[in-house]
């Protein structure tokens, strides 16, 4: 029977087209892009061989340091925010709302599917301070606080980015973790209750340990997404004010298209790719250890 499952003609026909497209759109460009890291210039002016100078520039470039720092800071804060708030939301769905949680889940999930640019423009207006106040400043003024030029300074703009992206994605993590929580067998929890576990101790001794796998999945997914952050920052602040909130993705984009240096842009993209691989592999390894021991 193996011969039927190993029918070469069938394999070629079923897999061939996908493999061709994947090779042309992903593999070839990745290798090509790697080749770009050894040149400088752009198609308009032509390319010059640059040896390893792009890499040494990468190491010294203060903008890369700033972008890297932003990317890491954002990824860590967002991952913590998404997973912690998502987990809280999931606990709320499962233990408080129970069967009636469908409607709430549906409403809270909706922003996940809204186009990022639309959300970003909405948030620009919500946090606006000039020429008129948005609703957030109106609220602050009404409760007697000072208005804030939210998008005008690096720190407050960062807060807006984080608030917006949490708002946008938390419904997703709520559902994701919810799906893991409801898989915890009912009788385990019942028997713990009979043993007298309530509230915090029930959570700490039973629920938390049993939901570790889904938490790890969430963390992997969150880091992988947040490290590639692009759309929301571009549309909300365009990396600003100044270059204070520029992630690597956006710096790469600018380097290639605004400063027309393909070689250096590709080098930044390579750094980003390596980061994605390292993070994923690292988490996979530690996850496997955690689950098996």
């Amino acid at each position: 029977m193996k011969s039927v499952l190993g029918d070469r003609r069938a394999i070629a026909i079923l897999l061939g087209p996908a493999l061709v497209v994947y090779t042309l759109v992903m593999l070839v460009p990745v290798v090509w892009s790697f080749g770009y890291t050894f040149v400088s210039g752009n198609p308009l002016e032509g390319f010059r061989f640059a040896g390893l100078s792009n890499f040494s520039r990468l190491v010294d470039d203060p903008d890369v340091h700033a972008a890297l720092l932003f990317t890491l800071k954002y990824a860590v804060i967002m991952t913590i925010g998404q997973v912690v708030i998502g987990y809280t939301l999931a606990l709320f769905y499962v233990f408080v709302l129970r069967r009636s949680s469908t409607l709430v889940r549906t409403l809270v999930f909706f922003p996940v599917v809204v186009p990022t640019v639309a959300v970003a423009l909405l948030y620009q207006k919500i946090f606006q301070s000039a020429p008129r106040d948005g609703i957030v400043n109106e609220l602050l003024v009404n409760v007697g606080l000072d208005r804030v030029d939210w998008l005008g300074s690096g720190t407050t703009a960062f807060i807006v980015i984080v608030v917006m992206d949490i708002w946008r994605s938390v419904g997703f993590y709520g559902v994701l973790i919810y799906a893991g929580l409801i898989d915890i067998p009912d009788d385990i929890i019942e028997s713990a209750r009979i043993d007298g576990a309530r509230g915090w101790s029930l959570f700490r001794r039973i629920v938390l340990p049993l939901s570790l796998p889904i938490l790890l999945s969430s963390i992997i997914f969150s880091i992988n997404g947040t490290i590639k952050v692009f759309d929301s920052v571009l549309a909300l602040t365009n990396g600003g004010p100044g270059s204070s909130n520029t992630p690597l993705t956006l710096y790469m984009y600018r380097t290639a298209f605004a400063y027309s240096d393909y070689g250096y842009g590709a080098t930044i993209a390579l750094l980003l790719t390596i980061m994605c691989f390292i993070v994923t592999l690292f988490i996979f390894r530690s996850a496997r250890r955690d689950i098996t021991t």
């Binding site: 029977m1 039927v4 499952l5 069938a10 394999i11 079923l14 897999l15 087209p17 493999l19 497209v21 994947y22 759109v25 070839v28 460009p29 892009s33 770009y36 939301l89 499962v94 408080v96 709302l97 129970r98 069967r99 469908t102 709430v104 889940r105 549906t106 809270v108 999930f109 599917v113 809204v114 186009p115 640019v117 639309a118 423009l121 909405l122 620009q124 008129r132 609703i135 109106e138 559902v175 994701l176 799906a179 409801i182 915890i184 067998p185 009912d186 929890i189 209750r193 889904i214 997914f221 992988n224 571009l234 549309a235 790469m252 298209f257 393909y262 842009g265 980003l272 790719t273 994605c276």
Partner: protein, 301 residues
Amino acid sequence: MLLDTEAQAPAPGRAPARPGRRPGAARRSVRRLLVALAIAALLVVEVYPLFWMFINSLKSSNEFLNTPSWSLPVDYRWDNYTAAWETGQLATTIRNSVVATLPSLFFIIVLGVAAGFTLEVMVWKGRNTVLLTILAGIMVPGQMILLPLFTIYFELHLTGSLWPLIITYTGHGLPLTVFMMATYFRAIPREIFEASTIDGAGMIRSFRSIGFPMVRNAVLTVALVQFFLIWNDLLFAITFANRRDLNTIQAGLLNFSGQYGSLDYGPLFAAICITIGGILVLYLALNQRIIQGLAAGAVKG
């Protein structure tokens, strides 16, 4: 399915009513009040901004500038919607988004399901290597393939059409699709396919008549995941289709805000409302499916 929950929901928190314990009615109603407050807070945070935008999409610029932004419009300016529709060329951007998304989805599904089947059900040498190579693609950020693709499309004279987007979306969407489909096929015992070939049918036929129908639900799930990834893409859209008449919804909105944003609040809000409204209709029709799909895509991705 991951989230077919209503039927099996164990509702682990349900405390059996215990007669004789004192907490009683007072405590329960406090608890109920707290829950209601929590739900209200959650809904205000998640839903109010959308409502806020809607009421402001109906105000004139003057009214927006001079009255509190939470007040209802004095004068309902529905013509903001006409203005947004025309100046933002929304008809064009919506058409472009549809024209870029649907063929991509079709190719992703056709190629991805077949590839998932071959890589999971069929037995051949090098299978694992190919699978891993494709899976590695999940981690590659769009920026890594952006510049070569840009050059390739230019050299092939593909620019000036939506083909660069369709091709890129197809290739970039394949890894996740193949991975998800392979996972679904893993759950189907190989014997089913072997049995089906006893009467001499080839693997291709057994894929078509057995494999594909068995994962039909999964295909819808995968299609929804890919739909939202493609529909909401910005990076490729602004790079490969940044000529005004090729803009997708996302890119069009970005340009719209630059062109009219600081002056015309009403039409800008209206354009956002239209964009969100379209998605809302789809979401209301398919929300449980979408939620399941995206969550499944994440767990497996």
